[in-house]
Structure formats: C-alpha cells, structure tokens
Symmetry: C2
C-alpha cells in the first residue's frame, strides 16, 4: 500500500516526465511538491517506489521515470481527466460543421480532427454494422458485361463494388434474383442475412435460376465487405517519434500493422470500459512496447456503438487526452444522431 506522500510523488513524477520528457530528479521534484520536506526524504520515498516497481532509472545516477507498472497504477488510481480547452472545443465544432452524404465521411473526419488536436495517431470506427439492417440491394448494369453491385443499410452505410458478370447470367434471371433478395432479406440485420445466405436462399434461388452460384458470389462479396469493420486512421506521420520508434524498419512494420485492417481489429479488440487505456504488454504487438492506446466507445442508441482511439507514446498527457476523448465521444454521437435524423432533408 502506498502512503499519501508516495501517491503525490508518483503523480508528480508522471506529470513532470510527460511535460519535460526528462527523467525527474529529487531536486526538480521538490520544487513542485506542496509539502516541505528535504530532498533526502524525497529520495528515500523514491527508493520505495522503485522497490515496488512503479518508477525506474535510466542509468545508475539518473532521475526516475515512471515504469509501465507505474503508469498502470497512475491510470487506475491517480489520473484526473481535465476539462477541454474552449479552443479545442471550437475546433471540434467547426470541423464537424458541414453536411455529410455518407456516415463514413463523418467517421473519417473524426480521425482527422482527433489527430490534429492531439498530434497523435487517431483511429475511428463507425457504429457497429453487424446489427445494421439491410435496406436494399441493387445491381446496376454498366455495359460491357460489367455490373455495379450496391448494398445499402439502414445506418447509412453504402457499399459498392464492380463485377464482371459471368456469361451464364442473363439480365432477366438477375432481376428475378434481386427481387428475391429484396423481398426476403430487406429488414434483416447483416448477421441474419449472412446466416440465411448459407441456408434458405440458395435453394430459393434455384427455383428461378439455373446456377445461382455466380450471383451469390457477387452478393456475398459485397455483403462481406459491408459487414466488415473498417477503421479510419489519421495522423500516421505522428508515429515518427524518437521516443518510441528506434529505426526505420520498425516504423515500416508499424505502418503495415496499422494499414492492415485485420491487424488493427486484433489490436483494438473489444474494449469493455467506456474509456480504456492499454499500454506496454497489454498491447498485442511487440512493436508497441513503448506505446499506449486509449480507446473510447460512443453510443448512438439504436444504431449501435462505435469507437475512437488514440495511439501514442506511453508518456502521453493522459488527463488531457482522456478529457478530450470524453467530450469527443459526445460530440460525435450527437453529430451521427443528427445525421440519421436529418439526412436528405436539406
């Protein structure tokens, strides 16, 4: 158990280190501490904190920096989210103040705003699509044996993809198939649609088409693409930071980790807190040893939950970041709700 004084010292070490980037020595620390004790006392306390593994030295005679365990303790017990600057708030509001034709544009914009506000890498994810309901499937002939398949869901996501049509498909049976799809599947959630696609539908189609596989491939493809979570990342450049990335190779690996949608999904996982910070070992990849990931979920009622996240060095100014994300959650949820209620009414 930590004494009151040790708590204050740990908290101050975290603050000073994130501010200055330099290891914190007993003298510097003393200037900032509210109580008046001698530097020797502080040193003694620091020895205790070090014994507990909460802080560490970079070399024998250096000042101390928080260890991963120390940050963990700080985040679990000490951090106090700070309020958001009026100027930051203004940036958020003006940046969101445009009309969007697609929800994905809002999500992409979110990542952009967050990364510019924080100078870290921002990741954002739209409301979950699994529970979104299919509102329509279209095939638009483009000529030259090509069609564009378009899938629309009730939460505003639109997925499209272009296919070369297999020769055996004539436009008549295609139209029939589409009618069946729309009759049978509209209104179901995407997960349900995926299930039905593996049971009822194929048989149903055989009544009207000779070989439904070609068509089912097309539909299945677009469906898969639509049901997949798609992360928007902004501020990748900000990963370049001598404190976290040692060499160019590491940077390249990091980039490919982040560009890979699946890897990113694995990294972020399923946060269970509203705002959650993971760092060091808690992150899946060895590449992220010196990183910290703050995830925040947001809630848009019937339309499900989404997520925004910041990826940066372990020594982030957590109070500010957590405060900021907390406000941003609300603003984003508001904007999305707004979008759902007003779309098309301009």
């Amino acid at each position: 158990m930590l004494t009151k004084r040790q708590l204050v010292i740990l908290k101050e070490i975290v603050r000073l280190y994130t501010e200055s980037g330099q290891p914190v020595g007993s003298k510097k620390l003393l200037d900032q501490l509210p109580m008046h004790v001698s530097s020797a006392t502080v040193r003694n306390e620091m020895v205790h904190l070090e014994d507990m593994g909460l802080i560490e030295k970079t070399h024998l005679s250096s000042g101390r920096i928080p260890s991963t365990k120390g940050y963990r303790y700080y985040l679990d017990h000490l951090v106090e989210p700070s309020g958001v600057d009026a100027s930051d708030l203004a940036v958020i509001e003006t940046s969101f103040d445009q009309s969007y034709h697609q929800i994905d544009q809002i999500i992409a914009q979110s990542a952009k705003i967050l990364s510019s506000l924080t100078s870290y890498t921002a990741i954002s994810l739209g409301p979950e699509l699994r529970d979104a309901r299919l509102t329509g499937f279209r095939l638009v002939p483009l000529g030259d044996h090509q069609v564009m398949a378009i899938l629309v869901t009730d939460n505003g996501a639109v997925e499209n993809q272009i296919f070369s049509v297999p020769q055996e498909l004539d436009s008549e049976s295609l139209e029939k198939a589409i009618r069946i799809i729309n009759d049978q599947l509209v209104g179901l959630s995407l997960t349900e649609v995926i299930q039905k696609l593996q049971s009822d539908i194929p048989q149903l189609l055989t009544h009207y088409m000779i070989t439904p596989t070609g068509f089912l491939n097309i539909f299945g493809n677009v469906l898969k693409k639509a049901a997949q979570e798609r992360f928007y990342v902004d501020g990748k450049m900000n990963l370049i930071n001598p404190a976290t990335v040692k060499n160019v190779d590491q940077l390249k690996s990091l980039y490919s980790l982040i560009d890979q949608n699946d890897d990113l999904a694995k990294l972020i996982g399923v946060p269970d807190q509203t705002i959650e910070v993971r760092l060091g070992d808690e992150l899946t990849s060895d590449l992220l040893r010196n990183f910290s990931l703050i995830t925040a979920t947001y809630d848009v009622g019937d339309h499900g939950k989404g997520m925004i996240a910041l990826l940066g060095p372990t020594s982030m100014p957590y109070s500010r970041m957590i405060g900021l994300l907390d406000v941003f959650r609300e603003e984003l949820a508001k904007k999305i709700t707004d979008y759902y209620t007003h779309r098309g009414d301009e």
Copy 2:
C-alpha cells in the same frame, strides 16, 4: 568537350557513388578503371571535371561526388539502360496475374509492384481520361432521399458518388433528365461533355424540369471527379532516407505534397519523352532538391496514354531503373489492352 578518358571517369564516379554512397577518391577509382594510369593522372582529370562543374567535393580533401549537372550529363550522354533481371520480370508477371474488375485496380497494382521492386516511391496514372467517352450515366435511388450517381466511360473507369437529393426533385423529372443526358451525351468525350454542360444542356433540360440546377450539380460533380487525373502512389515510406530528408518536418511536407493530387499533377507535368529523368532544380519544389523523378509514359493505342514514375534520391542506379521502367511500360500496356479486350468474357 570531354575526352574519352574523362567520360570513363565520370561514368565510373557515378557508378561507384550510387553503389557505395561514399565520395569517390582517386585510389578507389583507379582500381575500377580499365586503363592503367597513375592516381595522379586520375586526380588531374578530376580537377578538369570539377572545373566543368560535373563533380564536386564535400570538403576540401574529400573524394568527389557527381554534381546535379554531372548527373544531368551522365543521363544525357552516358547512361546505358540495363536489362531486367529474370526474377524482377517474374515478379511483375505474377503480380499482374489476376483478373481485375476495374482499370484503377491495375493502375494501383502497378504502383505497388514498382515500389516493391525498386524500394522507391512509385506513382502511376491511368490512361488519359480527357479523351475517354461517356458510355452512361445512372442515378440509383438508395432510399431516404439519397441517390448514387454513377458515371461510366469507355475506358473502363467508373466513378460514383452519393448525394442527398434536393427536395424539389421528384423521381419522374430525374428519370427524364437522365434520359436526356444519355441520349445527348453518350459517345462524346468527357471534354466535350464538359463543354456541352455549359452551353446546350441547361436550356434543353428546362423543357422538362423546372429547376435543373440541382440535377446539374450532381452530374457536374461526378463528371469533374471522373475527368480528374488520379495518381496512385505506393511506397511513400521509402521517402524516409537520411540522404534526402533531413528532418521530420520536411518529411511531413513531402507527404502532404504527394497526397495532394493537384500538387502531384503540377510536379509531374507533361513529360515529352517516353522516359525522362528530372532532378534538382528541374523539379518544381524546393523540397525535392535532392530527389530525382523518372517518368515513363505508356501507350494503349485508342485508349490514350498513361504514366508511371519513380521518385527517389538523386543517386539512383539509373541504368537499372530506366531498364526496369522500359520493360514495365510494355507489360502494363499489354495488361491494360488485355483488360479492354477480355473484360467480361471470363
């Protein structure tokens, strides 16, 4: 005028410097030279070359490196494109060996192949769209006052964008408008379409619609997007190179230069040679002082010309790069021609 021996020496300096990255001294140079002269003779020749501004020293007693002017001379008179490795050729062929639904996928893949083969940044541009002809314009209702506008051209490019439909547009007049567009404009080149859009069409539409502006906005938007040259860039990471980029800020500026489609268009301009190398001052931006840009055009007959390019440090192995691009031009043109002839016939 340079003597035979000076030419050999200049060429060798370029080769050794690109290989080693180190300034080349008289001794090292001597080992590689075919004729047997003394190092003093070589030194004398180097003084001449330096007087002509073709090579330079990094400091008073250092070896020599080619100057920008030296590279220019080398490229104009000395470079001999080398053949392409069998392995490189195999990579190109296997990477292209898939079926593509859209021409843009081929173009994007080109950039990917080139950057992975060269470890430089690769840029690619599809066949010119100005002369492409409009083959169709569609509006697909998605529900909730939203439509997707789709524009197809005869060279396989498909552009789509989603709009919220202005309230005053009912579906009936929309259909009429689309019929007019397709009747009047299909078969014309995009440049012609853009012209007509500013003259005949608005008046023509007023016969059938009350306020055509809403509709014209949508069409104009997609048209503009379709007619715009879109560059595909791959291997941006490779710009990180201590030889060319000194600090992180410069890197960020470079990235934003490359991400900005317009800036990129300005940078690349209109190459008049089949394969052209520009370096130093010849590039528009100050940021690119230490870079070299190799552009190569490719020709797909009726479907116009496109471009591929490599951006890297001035000290690239030009023989290999030029040889590679020359082969790649052909392969890409072949692949695209292939796409046009076989699309839809699988």
